[in-house]
């Protein structure tokens, strides 16, 4: 799906835990998710902490959308 969105000219960041599959298939902007059942959440955290984590992830995703890439690239989540 990410590739079809990109094919239509929409920069897309794929947030997934299966980053190796994403690279193999050829999605161009990839961000590692938290876990398969909750890629942008963490039930082990207190609710307010989880909210902050989600915001940070999204900010990182937005940043990935602003970076020019030549080929599939895995963006580190950072702190």
């Amino acid at each position: 799906m990410a590739k079809e969105l990109e094919r239509a000219g929409l920069p897309t960041v794929l947030v997934t835990c299966l980053t190796n599959v994403a690279e193999m298939v050829g999605a161009n902007r990839i961000l590692a998710g938290v876990a398969i059942p909750h890629p942008v959440g963490d039930p082990g955290l207190a609710a307010s902490v989880e909210q902050q984590q989600r915001r940070r992830l999204l900010l990182r995703a937005l940043e990935a959308l602003t970076v020019p890439v030549e080929a599939p690239r895995l963006f580190a989540v950072g702190s």
Partner: protein, 348 residues
């Protein structure tokens, strides 16, 4: 013995009607071979005859397949062909699509085999390969004689009921699996393949490995604060009760929900129906898969210019690649029409 009757399809250019200006030319039929049809006749030899040539403009068929399908059967039926030979279309996309469409329509309606030829990356290949035998051709008409020769050879075998294979007859694999009984059990074949691989000896995979195309990365967004960002997911988040009936296995569709004024996806309104993992965390808080709450908060704070007014969701458990591509293309169309600048796609 009576000769086999061959119908040849050509576009407006090879059919000698005209160039791009005639791309809207209606489907029309004339007796005997036309243009490259004479080469085809020579390649077919004495056992088959090109009884008629069907000609159509590249736009006429490709832009309205329904109309072409409806018209072509009645046009062609009186000529009682035993086989359809279409093209070669080489790299011409509209021509390739037209060949694929006509092969399917005539093949089904008249119960005849259909042979065409085009470059393996022609969009007509995906459309046509299950219905027609598509000879792999080059990109330009420089390969005309070779392509026609192969098409004639393949057509001849199909007419005589002889077995054909992609390797021997140079056609693009049709994606049809045929069971074969072999002596050696799979365990032995597997070990032999492994030993060959380890020893650096040649081996052939019984199942071809998928090859992934590369999509050139679109240009980045300059400033998210000025951009419209859309949320898309394959995580199976649906309205509580799943009224839209999104499947938990093998999705057949994607859903489009308005973000409305929501600042949050709440468990009383939404649930997760994905069949591929434990959905309890996502059901407790659907934002863990579709991060609407965080996206809204970033929009409020000005870090996202605007959240696209709809979010899109499908379900990725055992969903076919074909469907995933269709969903992606469909969502892309809606996003582009709605002015989206970028997408955050969450996957599970």
């Amino acid at each position: 013995m009576a000769k086999f009757r061959v119908l040849h399809y050509l576009n407006q250019y090879f059919g000698q009607i005209g160039g791009e200006a005639e791309a809207d030319a209606r489907l029309q039929i004339r007796p005997g071979p036309v243009g490259p049809g004479t080469l085809l006749q020579a390649a077919l030899g004495a056992s088959a005859e090109v009884v008629a040539t069907l000609v159509g403009g590249d736009n006429y068929v490709a832009s309205d397949a329904e109309r072409a399908r409806a018209e072509v059967v009645e046009l062609v039926r009186p000529w009682r062909p035993d086989v359809l030979v279409a093209g070669p279309a080489f790299a011409s996309g509209r021509y390739g699509l037209a060949c694929g469409t006509l092969c399917e329509a005539l093949g089904k309606a008249l119960g005849i085999p259909a042979v065409t030829a085009m470059h393996p990356e022609n969009p007509g290949v995906e459309l046509g390969r299950r219905h027609a035998y598509i000879v792999a051709a080059g990109t330009t008409a420089r390969g005309m004689e070779e392509a026609l020769g192969r098409m004639a050879g393949l057509a001849g075998k199909l007419l005589r009921g002889e077995p054909v294979t992609p390797a021997a007859d140079a056609y693009i694999p049709r994606g049809i699996l045929i069971n074969e009984v072999v002596e050696a059990p799979a365990a032995r074949r597997g070990v032999e393949m492994l030993l060959a691989k380890l020893g650096g000896d040649p081996y052939e995979s019984e199942i071809p490995r998928p090859r992934w195309d590369r999509v050139p990365p679109p240009a980045p967004i300059k400033d998210p604060a000025l951009a419209t960002i859309a949320l898309v997911s394959e995580g199976g988040i649906v309205l509580r009760g799943n009224p839209d009936r999104l499947e938990s296995w093998g999705a057949s569709k994607y859903l489009k929900y308005p973000t409305g004024a929501s600042a949050d996806l709440t468990p009383d309104a939404y649930e997760c129906i994905h069949g591929g993992f434990d959905v309890s965390y996502a059901c407790a808080d659907p934002d863990r898969i579709v991060p609407l709450d965080a996206a809204r908060s970033l929009e409020r704070d000005g870090q996202i210019g605007r959240l696209f007014p709809f979010w899109f969701c499908t379900m990725g458990n055992n969903t076919t690649l074909d469907n995933a591509r269709k969903f992606g293309a469909g969502i892309a169309r809606e996003l582009r029409e709605g002015g989206a600048d970028g997408v955050i796609l969450t996957a599970t």
